[in-house]
């Protein structure tokens, strides 16, 4: 892999839903380990984040992940990119916690023993061991988001994209989930309204009405964002 292919690259990306422009002329090269995306509701953050793993395909322009064209190689890209949604309920497929984590590893040519070992390891890592046999849909909101993290990370992606992962959580669980996200070895891209989260980040991108209006170190980008609000 050549140096320039690494990371996530948006080239002249524009997007519209039903002729309504949502993103315009986005050019970004995302290589930093910790990247935050902020902006008002409806500014296009989720659309941008979803393009990284091909849940949204841009009307024009291209998105590449480690040199893979998301439009044409979505399946390969999704093995590189783990995605955390705002509402973890939608991410739960299987009835119990352990089964849901194991579910991610289906169709990967692993033996049942390998699947079990990896699943147990992921549960341990996210403090879910005691809940392994519990019904997933009866967990608390914070526990569900922990489960979502475990279920995504058990597959070993190299990038994690999280779209407002703490918006539905209380302060304590927000801190827990944020702490875990920040501790990952993966490249992490977080869309958030929780600006404290972005303290130690390498880069913050501010989106407004479908455009990148600031792209800088957190302190600089966030003051631009706050100026935009007033």
């Amino acid at each position: 892999m050549s140096v320039s292919a690494a990371g996530i690259r948006f080239e002249a990306v524009s997007h519209g839903f039903d002729d309504q422009p949502v993103l315009r002329g986005i050019d970004l090269h995302l290589t930093e380990r910790r990247i935050g995306i902020v902006g008002a509701n409806g500014s296009g953050k989720s659309t941008l984040a979803r393009m990284i793993n091909g849940l949204v395909t841009p009307t024009s322009g291209t998105v590449t992940v480690n040199g893979l064209d998301v439009r044409r190689q979505a399946k390969l890209v999704r093995r590189e990119v783990g995605f955390i949604f705002t509402n973890p309920d939608n991410q739960i497929v299987m009835p119990t916690v352990q089964e849901d984590v194991a579910f991610t590893l289906r169709r990967r040519g692993l033996t049942p023993d390998e699947i079990e070992a990896r699943t147990i390891e992921a549960l341990e890592r996210f403090g879910l061991t005691a809940l392994a046999d519990r019904p997933a849909h009866r967990l608390s909101g914070g526990q569900k988001q922990l489960l979502a993290l475990a279920a995504v990370l058990v597959a070993g992606p190299s990038i994690v994209v999280a779209d407002e992962p703490t918006t539905l959580l209380d302060a304590r669980n927000t801190r827990l989930i944020t702490g875990l996200l920040v501790s990952l070895t993966q490249q992490v891209i977080v869309v958030t309204h929780d600006l404290e989260v972005l303290d130690g980040f390498d880069r913050v991108i501010v989106i407004d009405e479908g455009r990148v209006v600031a792209d800088d170190a957190p302190s600089v980008a966030l003051s631009a964002y706050l100026a935009l609000l007033s």
Binding site: N53, G54, L55, K75, R78, R79, G82, F83, F85, N87, D89, N90, Q91, I92, V93, M94, P95, T96, E99, A102, F103, T104, R106, R107, D133, P135, A136, H137, R138, A151, V152, A155
Partner: protein, 202 residues
């Protein structure tokens, strides 16, 4: 299965799901054919023993079996009345009640001791001979999603009812159904996306 599974290490928990499924099917047929009240009573004793082996305490079994008792409270007298209150009428009604009870208790026992993953694997084994025509993996995923939908829709109904109550709205059944259907469709969409994101959309 639907969050009813009770973790355990008993013989019944460890037995292969396919074997349990087969035995369950055989037992259902046998129970349906029993015509001797004594044999049926014997079967009831066996069922109770199986629950003991599985280590399922009565409080855990009750939610599965209780509802059928309510049905029987009404169905048995009706049966007896239809049969004209004769001794045979009582016997027939008693047999019917006993059969239902045994059948429901056995099905519940399967559910309480078998994970959904194990059931899916059993399905996949069953479908193997047909793999040229049926994608067992996909069928398994479909079954898992159908099972997942039950608590999800229940929760949506719950929230919509709460919201109605909070607004003091009474409204018709349609006024309840519309938001439930709309929200269920949104949830289905979101689940589809989450599946794709987990690389399981093929």
């Amino acid at each position: 299965m639907i969050g009813l599974y009770r973790p355990g290490t008993s013989l019944l928990h460890r037995a292969p799901a396919l074997l349990k499924l087969g035995l369950l099917a055989v037992a259902m047929v046998v129970v349906g054919l029993v015509a001797d009240p004594l044999v049926l009573a014997g079967e009831l004793v066996v069922v109770v023993a199986l629950y003991a082996v599985a280590g399922i305490p009565p409080p855990a079994a009750w939610p599965q079996i209780g509802p059928i008792l309510w049905i029987l409270v009404f169905a048995v007298p009706v049966q007896v009345l239809v049969a004209g209150g004769s001794v045979e009428g009582w016997t027939t009604a008693g047999l019917m009640a006993g059969r239902l009870l045994v059948a429901v208790a056995l099905a519940a026992l399967f559910t309480l001791t078998t994970t959904v993953t194990a059931v899916l694997e059993a399905f996949q084994l069953l479908l193997r001979p047909f793999r040229r025509w049926v994608d067992a993996d996909r069928v398994g995923l479909l079954v898992a999603l159908a099972i997942r939908c039950i608590p999800l829709v229940a929760e949506i109904v719950h929230e919509v009812l709460d919201a109605r109550r909070a607004r003091g709205a009474q409204g018709s059944l349609v006024a309840l159904a519309v938001p439930v259907v709309v929200r269920s469709l949104y949830a289905a969409d979101a689940i589809g996306e989450a599946l794709a994101a987990r690389g399981l959309d093929d």
